[in-house]
Amino acid sequence: MSVYHPELAEVRFGYGLSPNIKPPEDATALLAGLQTVDDMAIRFPIEPFDDFRERMVAAQLQNKIRRQNRGTDKAKAARKQRNIVNREARVAAMGWMVQSLMRATHSEHAFRERLCAFWGDHFTARGKRGVIRRATGPYLEEAIRPNLTGRFSDMLLDAVMHPLMIHYLDQERSMGPGSERALKRGKDAGLNENLAREVLELHTLGVNGPYTQDDVRQLAELFTGMTIQVNVGFKFRKDWVEPGPETVLDKSYGPRPGLEPIRAALQDLAAHPATARHVAWKLAVHFVSDDPDNALIDHVANRFIETDGDLMQVYAALLEHPSAWGPELRNAKPPDAFIASSFRALAVHEDLFVDLREQDLRVGLLVPLAMMGQPWQAPTSPAGWDEEDESWLTPQGLAWRVQWSMAVPTRLMKRLPDPRNFVESALGSFATEEVRFAAKSAESRNEAIGLVLMAPAFQRR
């Protein structure tokens, strides 16, 4: 019989066991944790995007000075200033990486951190050039985290209309061919379907969803006007809007120009049964197994439809289904979760990072993550990271997990825990005789700890 088990809950729906934190006693407590005060965001702050934007404004100003003074010392000085802005953002972003690892390490409600990662991946967005490349953390803080327990449609709107998403999926360049501005300008004007396509394929209906190329085109036309302007963020440009109503999935949206028809279309997409099924499938794959039980997907999808995408209800449906509690650990942890859960198991204190230089973080975290196949917050496509175990359990990926396990915790921590205790605290009831034996037989403490981290029961969830 598959039933709730506190340790399993912490492993499957959190970042594993911590020696200092008691796992939630039942599914009700696990869920209720999501609605407690977000203490981790307070203790480990990450700059919200609206503040981050000031960095973009500063970089843009220096670039402008450069352009206007080409070949002069003034341009040189501006270039230098711009590079300082870039460097400061890069260093800050490394700090935010540590903050988000620390949230996973110390949270009493680690399910919240998992959901933040899940939805951040569902709504993957990245900056492409210049200082905005460091904006992913701030975007998650602003568009994703506040919406974890609300309605799916609210998160969809906040993510799709976020400046970073508009930049990432080329919406900032998309101009209605028949718009006022295009008629004036001619040559450079053009529709870009990227955001519209990904909204249908990735964010809502899913790749097998009931939409056609024509829906993509019409939604792209409906999206025209949504752009960004560095000093204000989101900017709706009426003169970029393609005139006339647009028909998406047989429903007409107008009048134009205006943001209301765009919001209405997104809300309708959010409420579509195909979206419910797509989201339910994705949650099941992410949290339970690469090949989830159909009954589980149906159960979650139905709740999504019944409650109009009330995410708390959707999570409740996921957690109450027996299929979610199969005792066998199946999904492989992706590299970032492997590192986060290692920190959690070792109860790595935030003070250990205070004196680290940029180079230390690069060697200890950024390089290993990239070598394991998951460069920090940099998936190569808007589809985000793979869910399939095969993508992570590769020879190269695992070799680097071994290297990291042996090399990094021992350098980061003043004193590693006693390996014999660590087996029990890190794996709980998932500890096997083999791992216990390895922990006490290893030649050195760092190898013993590393071996426990490499145990299959620690690599999977």
Binding site: R70, G71, K128, R129, D170, R173, D188, N194, R197, E198, E201, A332, R362, V363, G364, V367, P368, A370, M371, G373, P375, A378, T380, S381, A383, D389, E390, L393, T394, P395, Q396, G397, L398, A399, W400, V402, Q403, W404, M406, A407, V408, R411, T432, E434, V435, F437, A438, S441, A442, E443, S444, N446, E447, G450, L451, M454, A455, P456, Q459, R460
Partner: protein, 402 residues
Amino acid sequence: MSTSISRRSFLMRTGAVGCSLAASPLVTPVSFAAMPGANRLVVIILRGGMDGLDVVQPYGDPVLGQSRPTLKVGPSSGASDLDGYFALHPSFNPLMPLWTAGDLGFVHAVSTPYRDKRSHFDGQDLLEAGTTTLGEGARDGWLNRLLQVYPKFDAHTAFAIGRGDLKLLDGSAPVANWFPQTQLGLSSQAERLLELITESDPEIHAALAEAQGLVEDKDQQSATLQDIRKAAAQQKGGAHISIAEFAAKQLSKQARIAAFSLNGWDTHRGQARELPRALARLSDTILTLKSQTRDSVWQKTTIVALTEFGRTVRENGTTGTDHGTGGLMIMAGGAVRGGRVHGDWPGLAESDLYDGRDLLPTRDIRANLAWLMRGLFGLDQSVLEGTVFPGLEMGRDPGLIL
């Protein structure tokens, strides 16, 4: 419980790549009959936008020298004359024997369909996705789609070498990924214990065993931060030799496809200083691939080096060049029809340029690649035009393969 499993028996049972395959759910065992053909393809992505006009210099057109006051042009400045019109950058001198032997060739004035925005990010995405536009939502790369349609491939046919962020090989077909500096970082005792604790998990066990087979120099020491630092430094520069050595080794065995990238082509300033460094790395890479393979393998090998776009015809104000359009594709190997500069040369007169500034692309680089793959792997034109490069019209055969 026993820990007396000797290192030898661990390797015997699982260490050799071939033996571990049966345990991996990813792979169906391959017999010799099912081995793909003997042709090998190496794809090198040159990130940053290589200035093809400085590599294969159309010195026969005086416009080039006039447009580039500080950049040296033609045989009088040390470049090797190729055919009386084009000359090869001096940094490629070590490759001249290959040119003479017909093992080095070029396709000039080619590009992806990418136009006008000239962004590295988008240009590389399109080059690797192999689609006509970026809005088509392709998640995979064209080289992976080639694997998807070619039934004889398995998980050891293709290697992405390096950090693994090659979109070119992303996709549903299994691809091995390896960074040659990777260590397992275990003492022999820990290695045995790792073997013991992962035995219950066939997937993890097989992948680790395979890693054992791929690690180059085992030092039997548990990993330290210094090892990671070393690998990180390698990743930044100087990795090209070990990447080429590793590729040559794999291509000499089961692998038929290898891909990796080389950086350092974005020569906005000081091009006369920067470009030779990048060219030397590429030249070393090609020569290493040649020296580390047997002649029989080299004769079946095609190396292509691709870049996201070319650079402006005119030199800029900082003794470099800016992002352009038409570019150069480099081919090497015993299987290519070398010793010539392929392509339709558009000329450099003001009116012949794209947008009044860039070399005009006269052919889609994907058409060249498609013909190349048709020659190497015998794929149908319909598959190449429909799946590998959706929407492409291959047109006439440029005859790049012998």
